[in-house]
Structure formats: C-alpha cells, structure tokens
C-alpha cells in the first residue's frame, strides 16, 4: 500500500521540524511538505491537486471512446467521464473490483445533467492523498473495463 501523504502545518518552525521527523520515521507515512499557516497549507494542497488534475486529464483524454465531462481550467480535481456504449455503473463495478474507488451516477446534479442529456457519469475525485501512480492504475483499470465490454 502507498504511504499516507501528510502535509505538516504549524506556525512554529521547531514544531514543524519535530513533527516532520517523527512522522517520517514511520514507513507508512510520507511527509510531502510543510507550511507555516493554514492559508499557505491549503494553497500547497490546491497546487498539488491541480497537478494531479492536469496529469489525469491528459491521461484520460488519450483513451479512445472516453469523454471527459467538464474541463474548465479552474476546477476542483475531479474527473467526470463517460465511455461509449458502457454504462457508468458497469464502469464503477469493474473498477471497484480492481481496488479503484470512483463515484457513479448523477452526483446530486440531476437538473444540469438532464439539461445536457447525460443520464450518469463515472467520477474520480483526486486529493492530497492520491498519487500520480494511482492515476496510472485508473487508466489501466479502464483498459480492463473496455476489455470486458468491447
């Protein structure tokens, strides 16, 4: 299992150092950075999530028959998508069995999805605890989805 990714946020440089060193001594934890206050901490998290989003957007865009829904430049690190001829719930179940958690359905956004005629999507939601390798795993998992339903 990938180590837990932690950003240490504290206004004392001494505490930041002690916490970082103590946490890093646990092989299951990776300290990915530090910040002196919450504002800087959140900005660092947002910057990392945006990197994941850019990487994921490029990776999913390369999959034939996959369409990303919502590609605004300034958006949270979520990747909603549909695949030709494969229902999102079937995508979700096959990914689930490979240890990949996505959400499927209308995501509590029925009016807007009705408006655009999309009954359901699959959605990967990325955060600080996700890695680039996990996006690669998602892409491989979607390969398996296509294999089953092609």
């Amino acid at each position: 299992m990938a180590p837990l990714r932690i950003l240490v946020v504290d206004d004392s440089v001494v505490i930041r150092k002690i916490l970082s060193e103590t946490l890093s001594s646990d092989p299951d934890i990776e300290v990915v950075g530090t910040a002196g206050d919450g504002r800087i901490g959140l900005a660092k998290i947002a910057a990392y999530e945006h990197e994941l989003l850019v990487y994921g957007t490029e990776a999913l865009s390369r999959i034939p028959g996959l369409r990303l829904i919502g590609t605004a430049r300034e958006k949270a690190a979520v990747l909603s998508f549909v695949m030709d001829g494969i229902h999102p719930h079937d995508i979700g179940t096959v990914l689930d069995r490979q240890g990949i958690a996505v959400r499927t359905g209308h995501h509590c956004a029925q009016p807007v999805m009705d408006r655009f005629g999309v009954p359901a999507t699959a959605r990967a939601s990325l955060a600080l605890y996700n890695t680039f390798a996990e996006i690669d795993a998602l892409v491989a998992g979607l390969g398996k989805v296509k294999e089953i339903f092609s």
């Binding site: 719930h89 079937d90 490979q98 359905g105 339903f149």
Partner: protein, 145 residues
C-alpha cells in the same frame, strides 16, 4: 475477478437484448425507473387466457439491467400469471439471499453473482418490478427508490 458478475451470457444479452421493441397489440404495459442510475424501462405484455403469449421491452440502462430485462422476456413466454409471479419471487431470492440455486430459474441463474454486489440488485430487479406492476395492473410507474 469480475467474471463472476459479468458472465458471458450477461454481456451477450446486454449488447444484443432479445425482445427489445415496442408492441402495438400489447394488453398490459408498465414503466419502471431507477432514478439513481437513470435507467428506464417500458414493458409490454400480451396475455391471453392468463398465459403470457408475448412480452417485450424498450429502455436504456446498464449491462445488468438490460441483460436482466432481456433474459426475463425469454423466461416468461408461455407462463401463466401465477407462474410468472412465482418466478419473480425465486429470482428475488436468488439475488438477495444465500439460498442454494434452483434449477427452475433456468438461464436466470447467471445473475447469482449479483448477490455479492448489493448496490447492483436494483439494476437486476428493475424489469421484474415493472413486470409485477404490469401483472397486478396497479398502473403506477414503478421506481426502485
């Protein structure tokens, strides 16, 4: 891995659903919805002397719900109303309990993998809920919610 759920016959029926067309001379109709998935289904039945002479459906949904509707239509032809409702009961048992698989379900046993995926039971039962509505003629569109 997922082959226990998506057996070949399920994939086949989801891609090439049987009896998938409207029926002009149907004497029973019902509609079913699964709002969570966006699945919808219209079921047409022609019943003569209490026997299902013909049955068809139209609708859109996931592989499980489409295959379930398709295989259901194949299983119902020639059955009486009571036999059809009995089959529904057996099918529901197959999906929701650990009871041993019985022969009387025929091809429908391919859905036994669904019992390991509680979130997908609604997909597999949509057509059957709609059938119950058509046979009991409550007239209300059914929803799995």
């Amino acid at each position: 891995m997922v082959d226990d759920l998506y057996q070949e016959i399920i994939i086949d029926h989801s891609k090439r659903p049987r009896n998938c067309h409207p029926m002009a001379d149907a004497n029973r109709k019902a509609e079913g919805y699964n709002p969570l998935c966006g699945d919808e289904l219209k079921l047409y039945l022609k019943i003569e002397n209490d026997i299902v002479k013909d049955v068809s459906f139209v609708g859109s949904g996931c592989a499980i719900s489409t295959a379930s509707a398709s295989l259901m239509t194949e299983s119902l032809k020639g059955k009486s109303r009571e036999e059809s409702l009995k089959l529904l009961e057996k099918f529901h048992e197959l999906l929701t309990t650990d009871t041993p698989v019985t022969q009387e379900l025929g091809k429908l046993v391919v859905f036994c993998g669904v019992r390991d995926y509680p979130a997908r039971v609604k997909c597999a039962t949509l057509a059957w809920h709609t059938l119950k509505s058509a046979l009991t003629n409550s007239g209300e569109p059914v929803s799995t919610e």
